[in-house]
């Protein structure tokens, strides 16, 4: 609770008690009226404080058992258990898998809508996003991983004598001990997002190009026939871009059309956006497993309509 809301609640409690006891002077009464009118939250908080006082009246006529010899009431001492688990966001399909310790090559993948966290034999952790596939080849000298498709976050266990190298498309990402994602999505250039530490980016399709270093909070884009582009981004934005680990999609002022594409990575259900409204933008964090919920929420906010039919949800103007 922010201090302000709490202060308002506290103030409301004082006013309600003084109203109840009738101890407000004329001047204080005017002050109270002014306070009530100043902010809609004041009015609401006061209403609730009145409700709290009124709720106690519900015990009128309820026998108060007295402990023998004392004035203390022997109310039932059972503590109220909070059933607040209701809102727990159980991101579907997240699990932890331990890869058996064995040398050689290994293929790891996720289905559409699945997110998997895998502990590799060196202690590094790979989180595979939806519809992704990697191949792991560890030797005594090197830890080589190929991202065949999709997106993966690598939390690399430090080992200077055994570099950790991820290959994707025409790019190679080399790290010692760090945390970064590599994505290789259809019709998009390979992208690398560095969460911690430093990685070194090398083109494999243009071996003579000098390597590029990327540090924490940097996004590197590696287009097939152009130089590597690096962009520094705020930490908060980076955290949002990694929300997929928790089964969520982060949209930052993205069009409904782009959002529909993003959701398509995670589910068989397709969001169809009418061309008329496909340029409207949305910002927020949404459950990746719930494209219909997203469509309805976005529509409610943008004053649009939705229609669910079979494996499709359509967004259109009224």
């Amino acid at each position: 609770m922010s201090a302000t809301n709490r202060e308002i609640d506290d103030r409301a409690a004082d006013w309600a008690v003084r109203r109840d006891l009738g101890t407000l002077s004329a001047a204080e009464q005017a002050e109270f009226e002014a306070w009530l009118a100043a902010d809609v939250r004041h009015l609401g908080a006061y209403g609730r404080a009145e409700a709290v006082l009124a709720r106690l009246e519900r015990l009128n006529g309820v026998a108060r058992e007295m402990d023998a010899g004392t004035a203390a009431p022997a109310w039932n001492r059972r503590r109220t258990l909070l059933a607040a688990g209701a809102a727990t966001a159980a991101a579907a399909g997240i699990g932890v898998a331990l890869v058996p310790r064995r040398a050689g090559q290994e293929e790891l993948f996720t289905e559409i809508g699945q997110v998997r966290e895998i502990v590799l034999t060196d202690g590094s952790v790979v989180s595979l996003n939806t519809n992704s596939e990697i191949s792991v080849a560890f030797t005594e000298q090197a830890r080589n991983i190929t991202l065949l498709k999709g997106e993966a976050l690598f939390d690399v266990a430090k080992n200077k004598s055994r570099p950790f190298v991820v290959s994707a498309g025409g790019a190679q990402v080399r790290a010692v001990g760090t945390s970064f994602t590599v994505s290789h999505l259809p019709e998009k250039p390979v992208q690398v997002l560095v969460r911690e530490g430093i990685v070194e980016l090398q083109r494999t399709d243009v071996p003579q190009a000098p390597p590029v270093r990327a540090t924490a909070n940097v996004r590197a884009i590696i287009p097939p026939d152009a130089p590597i582009v690096t962009v520094t981004m705020p930490e908060e934005k980076l955290a949002r871009d990694l929300e997929w680990q928790h089964g969520r999609i982060s949209l930052d002022d993205e069009t409904l059309a782009e959002a529909a594409n993003e959701f398509a990575r995670y589910s068989e259900v397709r969001i169809i956006v009418d061309p008329e409204v496909s340029g409207r933008t949305v910002t927020g964090l949404f459950a990746s497993s719930d494209p219909v919920g997203f469509a309805k929420t976005a529509a409610a906010v943008l004053k649009l309509q939705t229609e669910v039919r079979g494996n499709e949800v359509r967004i259109f103007a009224e």
Partner: protein, 195 residues
Amino acid sequence: MSRDFREQGRWLARNVLPHEALIRAKLRGMCLYDLDMEDVIQEMYARFLTLESLDSIRFPRQYALLTARAIIIDHIRHSRVVSITSSGNLESLEVPAQEASGEERVEFREEVRAVTSALNQLPKMCRETLILRRVEGLPQKEVARRLNISEKTVEKHMANGVRMLIKMFGRGGKPRANTSTSQEMVLSKDVRDKP
């Protein structure tokens, strides 16, 4: 006094306050980026107070949830950029009609248990002043005399007690919060109040 909210307070005590924890749980599923849940709760209560009549509301809990939802949508619209953090979605704020009709009324015994259990968690003097004044209906003077404290102190203990109860009831003054939201939502117009 130009405005007196005692009657509305009674209505809210019966119909909304016992459900506040549930309402919060549902809002929490949305965790809004730029919107404080406390603001939404306070504004929700305010909207009840500005209604001309509360009598026409047949399903207050459902009405409260729909009101909270409307407030959120208003806030989002005003901020122009649509900014929602939703692990569920706005739809999840709706309550199935069957649930609305069946469980709207808080059982009296359950209500007594919720209120006594909250009172029991208060410091002794806060509890005593509130019981003597609000349950037994004694005048402030008499409360002061019985507890052997000044009238001003009665006021102070009561105010502290109410402050704590506001928080406790908000967290869940009700022993079992209903969490069945997975039910199919069939909302026909005739069982639904519109905020």
